[in-house]
Homo-oligomer: 398 residues x 2
C-alpha cells in the first residue's frame, strides 16, 4: 500500500494487522492497474489465514498455496494489497469482530459495516482498493454491500472455485466481490466467472412482494420506485409473493441446514482447541450443535419446497427484484438482544439465494436518511452475467 | 514481590499481569510476616478487578474499596503481594484460561492446576506466597487444592463476607483459602472466620461409600486407608451411602440452580458487551440460559431432598469423609469432549457441600503415581473450626 492508503487504513481499520501480504499483478492483463484486497479466509501462500479468530491463527500454519480466486485476479493483472478483517470464521452478519475490531463503514461511521466480509466492504467503500474479495454463505457479501453502498454479487453456488478458501458450510459457501462502480465490478466478473456465457436480458421481472414487506417502511419507500422502473424495462413483469407461507419459514430451514454444516465443519477444531469466540459466535455454534437429525430431516423437506417454488418463479429466465437488507446498517455496539431481532429479518431475504444456489447481485441505488441500502436482482442459476448486464441498464435509470 | 519471587512467578504464571497490586500488612498483627495473594475477583482499591476475562477488565472501573476478606487479612498483618489468575468469571473447574494462560501446577507441571482459583493454588503450591484467597461456588477452592496438594476450605455458606468479591451465583458463592501447611492454614482461619466458635471433636464419622465409588480405583486405594484411620479416631463411625438414588441426581439439581443464578448474574453484561469467552465457558452460559422455569422448579424439589438427607447424615455433629476429586489433575490441553466426561464426576462430589451450605475441608494427604489428591471432611454448617481442629488430629496419623 502507499503511505496515504496506510493512513486511510489506520482510520478505517479494514485490513488485518498482517498487511504484509502483497501480490503484484501480472503486467498487461485485463485488470492491470487495479488493486484489490481479500478477506482473511483466502489463502495467500506463505501467510497464515487468520479467519478473524486469534486461536484459528495460532493453530494453523502458513498457507502453502494461494487461493484460486486470488491467483486468477493477480494473473489477470490486479495487485493484491492486503488481507481484510472478517467476522470470526465468517460466522456473523454485522461485521463486529471482538478480537480484531470493527472496520469502519465509510458511508456511515457510527454504523456497522455488515459482515462477515466487513473489511473487504470497508476497504472498497473507503477507497483503499478498487475492489475486494469476500465470501457469502448466509449473506456475507450482500449484507455489507448493502450497508456500505457497494455493488456485490453472491454468484451461482459452485460457479467460482473455493480452492484455498476457508469453508463454513460447503452447500452454501460462495466467493463474491465488491466494487464501488459497475464498470470495475463487471471487469472483475469477466475474470472470476471465466468462460462467461453470453448475457441476455431477463425475460420476466418479478417484484417479490413478501420480501419487500419485510423491509422497514422507509426502505420500501426508497427501493420500490426503483423496482417499478426496473419492471418498466421488461415487458413481462409482475408483483408476486415468493413464499406460499412466510419467508420466516423459508429462512428457518437454512438456519438448521447451514448450522448443521457449519458445526460439522468446525467441531473437531473447536473440541481440540476450545477457542475464544465472542459470545454471539459461540452461542450460534452451540445452537447449531443442538439441531437434531429430526430437525435436519424436516428442514430438508422444507428446502425442497423452497427450491421447487423458486424454480417455478424463475422459470423462463425470470429475475426477481427484492431488497438486499430490510434496514440500513444498524448502529455499532448495539446489545445482542437488539441485534437478535434484526438477524432473522435479514435471513428471510438472504435465504432465497442461499437455499436455491441462485446468483444475487445487490446494487447501491438508494439511501434512507443518507444511509445506503441495496436493491437486489436474483436470477436462475448461471445467470450471473445476465444480472450484471441488466444492472447496466438499470443504473442508467437512476 | 521480591525479584526471586518474580522469577518464580514468570515460571508459574500464577499472578495476573497486573501484579502492581500490593498491600503491606499492618505490623504486629497475628498474621505478621505472612504473604498472600488474592484471586482476581477480590476488589483491591484502585485496581480493576479483571475476573479472568479481557472484556470484563475493559468494561469495569478500578475498585473503590478493597474486599472485606483482603482487608481483614492485611489488618491482621499479612501482606498482599498480587492478584492471581482465575478461570473466566469463575466459570471453570480445570484452571485453563484461554486469555490469561494456565497457571502451572507446581506438583505436576504437565497437569492443570484446577480452577477456578487456579493462580491462587499455583502461587501457594509453588511457594510464591504463604497462603492465598480463592472462592468456591461449585468446587473452585476444593478442586485446585486437591490437584495441587494443598489445604483448602470451602467454608459454611455465608460465614465469610463476600463484600467486594465478584459474585457468580450468590446462593453458592463462598470465600475460601489455601495453604501448604495446616498451621498457617489454621492461623488464617482464625482471622477469616472471626468470632470462632469453640472447636469440639466430631461425634460421628461417616465414610461416604457412594462418594468413594465415584473416584478412580487408584484414588480410592490411596484415600480409603486414610479414611479408615480417621474413623478409628472417632468412636461412632460408619460407612454409609449418602444418596438414596445417585450422586449424579444430586449434582444435576445444583447444575440447574447454580446455572440459573450464574446466568441471571451475568446476563445483562453479556447482552451489553458480547464478551469474548472460551467456547467452554460460553456454552455453559448458553446451557444455563436454557434452563426453563420447570427445570428450576424440579431442581428445587430435588434440592430439598438432598438437604433433608444431609441434615439427617450430619445430625449429632457427624463429619463426612469423602474424596475431594474423583481423579488426580488431568493433563493440560485435553480435548473438551474428554474434559466433559470428567466434569460431572467432579460435581457429584462437590455438590454435597454446595447444596447444603456445609463447610468442606480438603487435606493433601495422598498421592497417586506422585500426583496429589485430596481427602475431604464435610461437617454441619458452622463446623468450620471443628474441621480444622480435627484435621490436626488426622494429620498426626499420616
Amino acid at each position: 500500500m502507499t503511505s496515504a492508503r496506510r493512513l486511510l487504513n489506520d482510520h478505517l481499520h479494514a485490513f488485518c494487522s498482517d498487511t504484509a501480504a502483497y501480490l503484484e499483478g501480472v503486467s498487461g492483463g485485463p485488470l492491470s492497474g487495479l488493486t484489490f484486497a481479500a478477506k482473511d479466509i483466502f489463502d495467500i501462500a506463505g501467510y497464515v489465514t487468520g479467519a478473524g479468530n486469534p486461536d484459528w491463527r495460532r493453530t494453523h500454519e502458513p498457507a502453502a498455496r494461494t487461493a484460486w480466486a486470488v491467483q486468477v485476479l493477480v494473473d489477470a493483472g490486479a495487485t493484491m494489497v492486503g488481507k481484510t478483517i472478517t467476522d470470526e470464521l465468517t460466522r456473523g452478519i454485522f461485521g463486529e469482530n471482538a478480537h480484531d475490531g470493527t472496520p469502519v463503514n465509510p458511508r456511515a461511521p457510527d454504523r456497522v459495516p455488515g459482515g462477515s466480509s466487513s473489511g473487504s466492504a470497508s476497504a472498497v467503500a473507503g477507497g483503499l482498493v478498487d475492489f475486494a474479495l469476500g465470501s457469502d454463505t448466509g449473506g456475507s457479501v450482500r449484507v455489507p454491500a448493502s450497508f456500505c453502498g457497494l455493488y456485490g454479487l453472491r454468484p451461482t453456488h459452485g460457479r467460482i472455485p473455493l480452492d484455498g478458501v476457508l469453508l463454513q458450510a460447503p452447500s452454501y459457501d460462495t466467493v463474491g466481490w465488491f466494487a464501488r462502480d459497475l464498470d470495475t465490478f463487471a471487469r472483475v466478473g469477466t475474470v472470476l466467472l471465466q468462460n462467461s456465457s453470453v448475457a441476455t436480458r431477463p425475460r420476466r421481472l418479478v417484484i417479490a412482494e413478501d420480501a419487500f414487506e419485510i423491509a422497514d417502511p422507509t426502505v420500501q419507500e426508497a427501493l420500490r420506485p426503483i423496482a417499478d422502473r426496473m419492471a418498466a424495462l421488461i415487458e413481462l413483469s409482475a408483483t408476486e409473493r415468493l413464499s406460499p407461507s412466510t419467508l420466516s419459514d423459508w429462512s428457518s430451514q437454512q438456519q438448521v441446514l447451514q448450522g448443521r454444516e457449519a458445526w460439522e465443519t468446525a467441531r473437531e477444531w473447536i473440541d481440540r482447541v476450545n477457542p475464544r469466540f465472542s459470545f454471539e459466535v459461540a452461542e450460534r455454534y452451540v445452537a447449531a450443535r443442538g439441531y437434531t437429525d429430526a430437525d435436519v430431516a424436516a428442514a430438508k423437506i422444507l428446502r425442497e419446497s423452497v427450491r421447487a417454488r423458486m424454480a417455478s418463479v424463475l422459470a423462463d429466465g425470470a429475475v426477481v427484484c427484492l431488497p438486499t437488507t430490510p434496514t440500513t446498517a444498524p448502529l455499532r455496539g448495539e446489545r445482542m438482544s437488539v441485534r437478535n431481532l434484526l438477524r432473522p429479518r435479514i435471513s428471510m431475504l438472504t435465504c432465497i439465494a442461499g437455499t436455491t444456489g441462485a446468483p444475487q447481485l445487490t446494487l447501491p441505488l438508494a439511501e434512507v436518511d443518507g444511509l445506503p441500502v441495496g436493491l437486489s436482482l436474483l436470477g436462475p442459476r448461471g445467470s450471473d452475467e445476465l444480472l450484471i448486464a441488466f444492472a447496466r441498464e438499470v443504473v442508467e435509470l437512476v
